[in-house]
């Protein structure tokens, strides 16, 4: 399906990442936004509140992030594409109901413009320390999708992608930005509506008397209905059977939760987006994401200037699900993975797990507040390259 022209601001713009993210939402067909102001994500909400009245969308500033998260779930069940935007503290507040979104299998998009933490931390400065929270933050077992843009252009592109994945797999999808990407201003090209591909919601073709809310087919994703269409369906955050009815047995728990995990895991080849460069014969592979990938590039350049030419670059555009297979393939062929990230070791744990001792895994930690020094990345590469 093509994008609804009403929301697409076709042209070449000079936008910051937050505003580009808002435009991505609009282009993807988002027409319901509920949010609560929080630095450094507020500009997304501001942009949407300005734009929605002209495109037939509804913006509401809720009383807190718990409310925002629930409102976008409700809106999604009423048939609207919906999103919210926050940063660390608000992301923490949303967690319980992100789990509700996962359990009800509700398509929606949650943007986290990461800042330094823990707690109030560094409200105006960058961090990448919510990556594991994105994966595991809500209680219980589940799989989730998280995308990491590294430029305003990608904030636009990946927000659309996030909506498409949310619809396809019926799951909340995270856009894990960081303050740098959110506040940097660059050229953003917004294509014409015909060039934007939109995944529409897969509504059931069954009649109400035949329909079961959690009956699924080959792709493990059930067809959806929306409120008001006469299906008289029930959904619950409790462990439920195919009818959507609670059933407090281990057998139903196994079926219910296992499928939530499998529908992402088994389709992960369709979900992964990785950017790779210079991987052939690489001795060292630098794995990074978000703003850190741009700093890493400079670190790699410094090493290359000294004749270290076999440095591969792998960028996690999809952070979750994690590209396990690709890391396992690379590990035996290289000396080391070098992983700079703005935290004290989060995604590196996954790299190390998948490398399974077949090569070295070197973390370049950073507490956030500013980006890495390219020299630190260069030094780590040099050490690993020997």
């Amino acid at each position: 399906m093509k994008a609804d022209p009403a929301g697409v601001l076709t042209g070449i713009h000079y936008l910051d990442g937050d505003k580009a993210c808002a435009e991505g939402g609009l282009a993807a067909g988002c027409r319901f936004f509920a949010g609560y102001p929080i630095t450094p994500s507020t500009e997304v909400a501001e942009r949407i509140s300005e734009r929605f009245p002209y495109v037939g969308g509804i913006f509401i500033q809720m009383e807190d992030e718990l409310a925002s998260m629930n409102a976008i779930l409700g809106a999604s069940w009423a048939g609207k594409k919906s999103m919210t935007v926050t940063s660390g503290p608000g992301f923490s507040l949303m967690m319980e109901n992100i789990g509700l979104g996962v359990m009800l299998e509700t398509p929606c998009v949650v943007v986290n413009v990461q800042r330094g933490g823990p707690s109030t931390g560094l409200p105006t400065l960058p961090g990448q320390a919510d990556m594991m929270q994105a994966r595991w933050g809500s209680h219980g077992d589940y799989e989730i999708i998280a995308l990491c843009p590294n430029s305003p252009q990608e904030c636009f592109d990946l927000t659309i992608k996030a909506f498409n994945l949310a619809e396809k797999y019926r799951v909340p999808v995270f856009v894990m930005m960081d303050e740098c990407v959110g506040h940097m201003t660059e050229k953003v090209v917004i294509p014409s509506p015909e060039e934007i591909s939109i995944e529409s919601r897969r509504y059931t073709k069954k009649k109400p008397e035949e329909y079961l809310p959690y009956e699924y087919g080959e792709d493990l994703v059930p067809d959806m209905v929306k409120a008001g269409d006469g299906y008289f369906f029930h959904v619950t955050g409790l462990t439920h059977d195919q009818r959507g009815y609670p059933d407090m047995t281990w057998e139903t728990q196994e079926k219910c939760v296992h499928r939530l995990i499998d529908k992402i895991k088994k389709n992960s080849d369709d979900i992964f987006i990785l950017e790779e460069e210079n991987m052939k014969d690489a001795r060292v592979v630098v794995i990074s994401y978000g703003i850190t990938s741009r700093v890493a590039l400079r670190g790699i350049q410094l090493a290359e200037e000294e004749g270290m030419k076999k440095i591969g670059r792998l960028r996690l555009i999809t952070a979750w699900p994690f590209p396990e297979k690709r890391i396992r393939e690379l590990a035996p062929k290289i000396n080391a993975f070098v992983v700079p990230e703005m935290n004290y070791g989060q995604m590196v744990l996954e790299v190390e797990r998948c490398a399974a001792g077949q090569c070295e895994t070197i973390l370049i930690p950073h507490g956030g507040g500013t980006v890495h020094k390219p020299e630190d990345i260069y030094k780590a590469i040099k050490e690993a390259y020997k």
Binding site: F32, M62, D64, G74, A227, G228, T236, D241
Partner: protein
Amino acid sequence: MKAVEVEEVKRKRKPKVDKLREDEREHPLEKWLRMERIPHIWCSTCGIGTAVTCFIEAIKKSNIPRNDICVVSGIGCSGRIAGYIRQDSFHTTHGRAIPFAVGLKLANPKLKVVVFSGDGDLASIGGNHLIHTARRNLDITVLCINNFIYAMTGGQLAPTTPPTAIATTAPYGNYERPFNLPALATACGAVYVARWTALHVRRLTTSISEALQKKGFSFVEIICPCTTLYARKNKLGSGLDLMKFYHDNSVIVNGVDPREVDIQYQSEIKVGKFVDLDKPSYLDNYNTYLQKKLGEKFKPYGVTDEEKH
């Protein structure tokens, strides 16, 4: 599915029906309930079932298209209501039924969205949503079962537990001041506020029906007996004793200032319709204001083409 089969077996266990005449076989509310989920989890003499019956009677009498009615519940005994009513129904997380309902309503203003939940869910963990949704005069109906206690978790102190009443987390009696829910809803801007007990079925049904017809935020408190926990902890007798208490101690005071209807331990319970007024709803304000401010370029929200012409 094994679990389904188990329930199927349970459903077949209804042999007594055979003794009834053919025309009596169908339960009068069968079309409105998820009969495959009956028996429900509520204790015998619980008031929630009565409240559900009143709600269904109210929607039966209303001229609201059935497809438009959505029920949203939170967590707790009352949180299970959504699971038994055969409408589009959502069983959400603790305290969050109202914001979920706000999303439903705003995303499709045609829907008639009803939040049906308990006092702990709506006034404690979800209290912030209650006050802000009333403040915005968002067009939803909130039906609040008040049984003075957290029943599902075993009888803990609620924000509505009357002073001196015993709860498992107030073993020596409650020393906190409870909420007067009608006063709270009124102060925050609700346009329709009423309170009845589970004994006042006719008046409760009328109030729910009025609340559903009301544009804006409507709030009905339903005082319900909880025999298993509240009455047992406080040695108040059986379900019948509680109903007798409601009978002897409820005073109908329609139109009274809601600030005067707070409930003390085993005191008189003032019931009635306290507030019924007309104010523009959230979406009325949204559309009127932005139309004025932005003119032609503004696309009014939730207004169908027929309404525009």
